[in-house]
């Protein structure tokens, strides 16, 4: 608070002195133009590159030239940073009730599988799944200039709640299509809903409009859409066709002026395989590429296809993907976006050894704050560790869950004594709430078992697991074999034999290694199986709940660390942040105890792909080149590993929002995020 007061005094002092200035004769022409261009440009780099910079460019011609130069340089810097992997993440969490009236107002709730698009200086977010099996249909606007969430008051026909819909910006409208929604709970056991609604949102009038036309695509979700001129091209998705749920590789085009759908004609029969969750990027008015996607369980694609729309009849062309070993994994639940000549994908880190590996070798007592090891040593240590892991392969698999549980509980215990810092108090409260949730969950399950006679799988997963059904569509029927044909039909172990179920999971996972050669061989409980093999997850619920419990605590602690270490504050509340320094240094000291190496392996990595060579006509083999990453693509301040978040391009930076912790999808309450992460060039490198 003291700093605020000082600042305002200074400001008023300056403005009164400028009036003095204009009256004095010798200094009457002094102004900011006194400073040379480069210095002015450097000053402008401090400003958030959205509304404020635009204002600056309107001040005078010289400033306009400087701002233009700055924008150009920021773009170049971002590209250079992407190819060198020299960027950093900053987190932004708008506090709901701090700093008085400056940031009052509601903030967005955490969500995943939402749609996000950038228009002007704002990011618009719509819908998505919530933390507790409901779907949103709210539209939020994040003002990038003031770094504030706002909820536009909209009129018209509101869309139904939906997630995984496609939303694109066209002129001054947003176009929303498709999506899925959690079934409502009363009456129970309803199927998933997929939508084929098309909505337009007029940004000027704040009005939703529903459009229906005669020939309309089937209801779909997980499709991708881009705008080319006055057309919106939609591809793929998970659809209901003739009462069957199936992945599709159809293309539909919407004429945005006439609001009429049609299906284009294609040359030949080559098409990408059916998929959903792919990344679709617009290259220019007549070209787009589709990368990745998922075609069902164990069929994650990493190929790329180019759609040529320049002639009346369109054609698909498969593209060569080079340097695949540096490519992104899981390009179906992780977002990607285009930055000039690059495709940027965020995803789980590749060959990094799993958490408990790190703890096995480097778990130092928690209380003595060890300084963060320098970055350069890290890849070296990785190399040293990997042969070790292979040697000890056999034993580690069996010990995996126990070790994780044990080690994860330890840091919580070590720090629980003594006075609780505010962060820890929050964690303690959270533990209480989680305990209550778990008790309720167990109560629910018990009631369900008692009340229902037929031993359906659905009983054991009362309100969750629906998203998983989406991805492995035949699982709800226990008699049908699950999609990977080699696996025996889903047995429902009558006894709660946890170890047998886990062993089964591991064996199943081993059979589908060929798609993901980069993933560690056996330590999959955290990684793959809870999401794919929903049916087998049934009886590990109680155990996984407690394991996830401590996982969640640990993740929360890491998140607090990430916040402490890399915070990005809105300009209006920068003073407020400065005014509350008292709590921070102590909290930093207390929370720096967990070794930063632990932080890094549970975070997102960046994958960058060069797409500049696709459209060059003199290239006989157009394709994508993945850029070789440094440090496994893990950058400073990286966010937690979440899936189904959204990534859009800002001015000289990338904006990541939302997402869910995959491991929590089988719990009653999913752990979703509502924080925004900015990926930008660190200041010193300019």
């Amino acid at each position: 608070m003291a700093c605020n007061v000082n600042y305002y005094n200074v400001a008023s002092g300056s403005s009164s002195s400028t009036s003095l200035l204009s009256s004095s004769t010798s200094e009457s022409n002094v102004n900011l133009n006194y400073l040379p261009d480069e210095i002015l440009e450097f000053i402008f780099t401090y400003l958030p590159p959205y509304g404020d910079l635009e204002h600056c460019s309107l001040v005078c011609k010289r400033w306009q030239a400087i701002v233009k130069n700055l924008v150009r340089r920021a773009k170049l810097n971002l590209e250079k940073g992407l190819s060198d992997f020299r960027l950093r993440w900053e987190i932004f969490n708008q506090q709901p009730s701090s700093s008085g009236s400056a940031t009052g107002g509601s903030i967005i709730a955490g969500r995943f599988a939402h749609s996000a698009v950038r228009q002007g200086n704002s990011m618009y977010v719509f819908g998505g799944g919530s933390s507790s099996d409901t779907t949103f249909n709210d539209l939020w606007r994040f003002d990038l200039t003031h770094m504030r969430w706002a909820r536009p008051v909209a009129t018209g026909t509101y869309p139904s709640p939906k997630g995984s819909a496609s939303m694109v910006a066209w002129r001054d409208q947003l176009v929303l299509f498709g999506g899925w929604r959690y079934p409502s709970l009363h009456p129970p056991y309803q199927p998933w809903c997929l939508f084929d609604e098309l909505h337009f949102y007029d940004l000027g009038k704040n009005r939703w409009l529903l459009r229906s036309s005669l020939s309309c695509p089937p209801p779909m979700a997980g499709h991708s859409a881009t705008v080319h001129g006055d057309r919106m091209v939609v591809f793929g998705g998970y659809q209901i066709k003739d009462d069957v749920n199936v992945n599709s590789n159809d293309t539909w085009v919407l004429d945005l002026n006439e609001q009429r759908w049609y299906q284009p004609l294609f040359v030949g029969n080559t098409r990408p395989s059916p998929r959903y969750g792919q990344i679709q990027i617009e290259l220019d008015k007549n070209h787009l590429i589709v990368v990745g996607g998922c075609g069902g369980a164990n069929r994650v694609y990493t190929d790329a296809w180019l759609l040529d729309m320049s002639r009346d009849v369109w054609s698909w062309k498969a593209l060569a993907v080079r340097n695949k070993k540096f490519g992104a994994v899981h390009m179906w639940c992780n977002p990607g976006c285009k930055v000039n000549n690059f495709l940027v994908v965020v995803g789980p880190s590749p060959t990094m050894p799993q958490d408990f590996q790190m703890m096995k070798h480097h778990r130092v007592p928690m209380a003595g704050g060890r300084g963060p090891p320098p970055n350069q040593n890290h890849p070296l240590q990785n190399q040293l560790r990997i042969p070790d892991r292979r040697a000890a392969d056999g034993q580690i698999g069996g010990l995996a869950p126990l070790r994780l549980g044990g080690a994860a509980a330890a840091p919580g215990g070590a720090r629980a004594g003594g006075n609780l810092a505010p962060g820890e108090q929050y964690l303690a409260n959270r533990r209480v709430i989680l305990n209550q949730n778990m008790q309720q969950a167990q109560q629910f399950m018990h009631n369900n078992n008692v009340n229902n006679n037929n031993n359906n799988n659905i009983n054991y997963q009362p309100r969750s697991g629906r998203l998983i059904d989406l991805h492995a569509p035949t699982l709800p029927r226990p008699l049908n074999p699950a999609p990977p044909a080699a696996i025996p039909p889903a047995p429902v172990p009558a006894d709660g034999d946890v170890d047998a179920a886990q062993r089964l999971q591991r064996n199943l996972a081993l059979r589908c290694r060929d798609n993901e050669p980069r993933l560690p061989k056996r330590f999959d409980e955290l990684y793959e199986d809870p999401f794919r093999m929903a049916a087998f997850n049934v009886h590990t619920r109680s155990r996984s709940a407690s394991r996830d419990h401590s996982e969640r605590i640990r993740r929360m602690e890491e998140k607090m660390n990430a916040i402490r270490n890399s915070r990005r504050s809105a300009p209006a509340i920068a003073a407020a942040v400065a005014a509350a320094p008292a709590a921070e240094p102590q909290a930093v000291a207390a929370l720096r105890a967990p070794s930063p190496k632990r932080l890094r392996c549970n975070v997102q990595s960046l994958f960058v792909c060069d797409i500049s060579k696709i459209l060059q006509s003199n290239d006989t083999d157009p394709g994508l080149d993945w850029v070789e990453y440094r440090n496994f693509g893990v950058l400073n301040g990286a966010p937690d590993r979440l899936i189904l978040s959204s990534l859009i391009a800002g001015n000289g930076e990338l904006i990541l929002f939302g997402g869910v912790h995959k491991e929590t999808l089988t719990d009653i309450t999913h752990h979703v995020s509502n924080s925004i992460h900015f990926l930008s060039v660190p200041r010193d490198i300019i």
Partner: protein, 144 residues
């Protein structure tokens, strides 16, 4: 200028500095060590008796010295946040008109004092940020 700090040896003796209007200042070694340009100059030719500063006048240089003294005396580690508060205090105490801030920026640039450079530019950009409209900016910064 921005990130590269030349590896010049720290100075151990006091230096004499002459500003543009002829005044000479005897600068203690610990203050002169913050001015990287002086360090580089002395590293190249160690036998300079008086260092001329043609672009910096006395008033500005005294403010620079004051800043260096504050940095030397402060017990808090110098990060962005503490530099901001320190600079605001300095501005409130000793700077009357805006042109002094500009001159300070130029002096920090010339003498290569990273802390002062960061604090002054941050301060100015905060002021620009505070402006709500283009007209405000025109008025406050006296720009056409």
């Amino acid at each position: 200028m921005y990130s590269f700090i030349p590896r010049a040896a720290p100075i151990h003796r006091d230096v004499t500095v002459q500003t543009s209007n002829g005044c000479q200042y005897r600068v203690k070694s610990e203050l002169a060590n913050q001015m990287v340009a002086i360090r580089c100059l002395l590293a190249k030719s160690a036998d300079i008796s008086v260092i001329p500063l043609e672009d910096i006048d006395s008033e500005t240089f005294e403010l620079v010295l004051k800043w260096c003294r504050t940095v030397r005396d402060s017990k808090v580690t110098l990060n962005e946040h503490s530099a901001r508060t320190m600079f605001k205090k300095l501005v409130q105490e000793s700077i009357d008109d805006r042109i002094m801030i500009y001159k300070l920026i130029l002096a920090a640039n010339f003498l290569d004092i990273e802390s002062l450079w960061g604090a002054t530019t941050q301060h100015l950009s905060d002021e620009i940020n505070e402006c709500k409209s283009v007209q405000d900016m025109n008025k406050i910064f006296n720009v056409k």
